[in-house]
Symmetry: C3
């Protein structure tokens, strides 16, 4: 399989159309499917945080023995996100400023949800950043571009939160 994959990477096809779309292809193969499940736990010392969980997700793939398939990684709490972006502290600062502008934490009274809660902003921020990532597994690895990293985005921390990793494949 690794050899076939490398060959596929070098067997480039012609341009498909004027938009400059080119394509590289791997052949289909019959699979013996199995599944794998793990829960990751988080307890951040701050209300908001961005944690790179790519190593933990790759470790799940390694443990599963699955070489080819799909991995779902989703927040199990509705005030947190799982998303793919850059592992660059400047960008994470920009996320913080930007999300506070689009869905400010305070004043708490601006949100009806905040009768007994103070986390309405976290429910909104999570809609922008997203609940889940679905990624491909190829040759036993996350099939990622150069800079893709999976993050857990916490918007209402200081307590135990969970992320589900579910893998389907061969």
């Amino acid at each position: 399989m690794p050899v076939a994959a490398v060959r596929a990477q070098t067997r480039q096809k012609d341009l498909c159309d004027a938009d400059g779309i080119r394509a590289i292809q791997m052949d289909s193969e019959e699979m013996h499917v199995k599944s794998y499940r793990k829960v990751l736990y988080f307890n951040t010392p701050t209300r908001r945080a961005y944690i790179n969980i790519t190593p933990q997700v790759q470790q799940c793939i390694d443990e599963s023995g699955i070489k080819d398939g799909l991995v779902l990684v989703n927040a199990m709490n509705i005030t947190a996100s799982v998303f793919v972006n850059d592992d660059e502290p400047g960008l994470h600062h920009d996320f913080e400023v930007w999300l506070e502008k689009l869905a400010p934490e305070k004043p708490y009274s601006q949100y009806e949800h905040n009768g007994f809660e103070d986390n309405a902003d976290a429910h909104l921020k999570r809609q922008i950043m997203g609940r889940e990532v679905v990624a491909a597994i190829t040759n036993g690895k996350l099939d990622f571009g150069t800079w893709e990293q999976i993050f857990y985005g916490e918007f209402d921390g200081k307590r135990e939160k969970r992320v589900l990793v579910k893998i389907i494949g061969e």
Copy 2:
């Protein structure tokens, strides 16, 4: 399988790293994969609405007989969303106010799309709230956190709209 799952839930592992990530794991098993498909229909009396469709999605899983796999739930219309958040009316009011601030319905003339339409804002709102949810199925149930609920978000209602439920698993 239920017994194995319960055992997995109680066989906790050590902390993985300094960020406080803990993990619980289930072993992989070979699967006999099948698929299932259903379309849900909606016709809301208001332009915008949030409808909890978790029971309908769980019913699809029950009907499919699939115990372990993935379920895709997506809006088939491009002015509606499927997303996971809290079943709390105050929050839904906050969504309404917030989305109207980020992507206001009126004046209609502010959008080029509104030549023959008046729903450009609905196309934008749906980008923030998302088109689809992919969820795990474990032991025949939606593998959800305590407060996770699946919603159909309507942004241009008063006519028939559709949601696709597609399940792959064993």
Copy 3:
């Protein structure tokens, strides 16, 4: 399979509840699962662009021979999106104006990420528009609503970028 699908489409069920949710169902069948992978390449002449890649994704499905399953289509770069919306130039203009309002490109100095880069806004825009689409395949076709089209959204173009297409199914 096509005949069964048509029959399913005409075997409608009663309303499920007062929200007007109706359902149409297809029976589950055992599958012989395989996978398929292709990378699409883009090099847009402008910084931002929206390219309809539905024909390329359908071509992948055709090449895979997979009739029933899931297709993942994701940007492999973190300054680009894959999303589903309308193929209507007025709406794409509205996206451009709207995203510039929510996450403006300039002044570059407003973002900490822009120390050696000028594309922080592209990282933010991609969070709103999303990284990936997961779509159902039924009877060998994208199982889409009438107006659903898959787009590549470029927010930092003028260089080679990639999109991954991964298919799992029978």
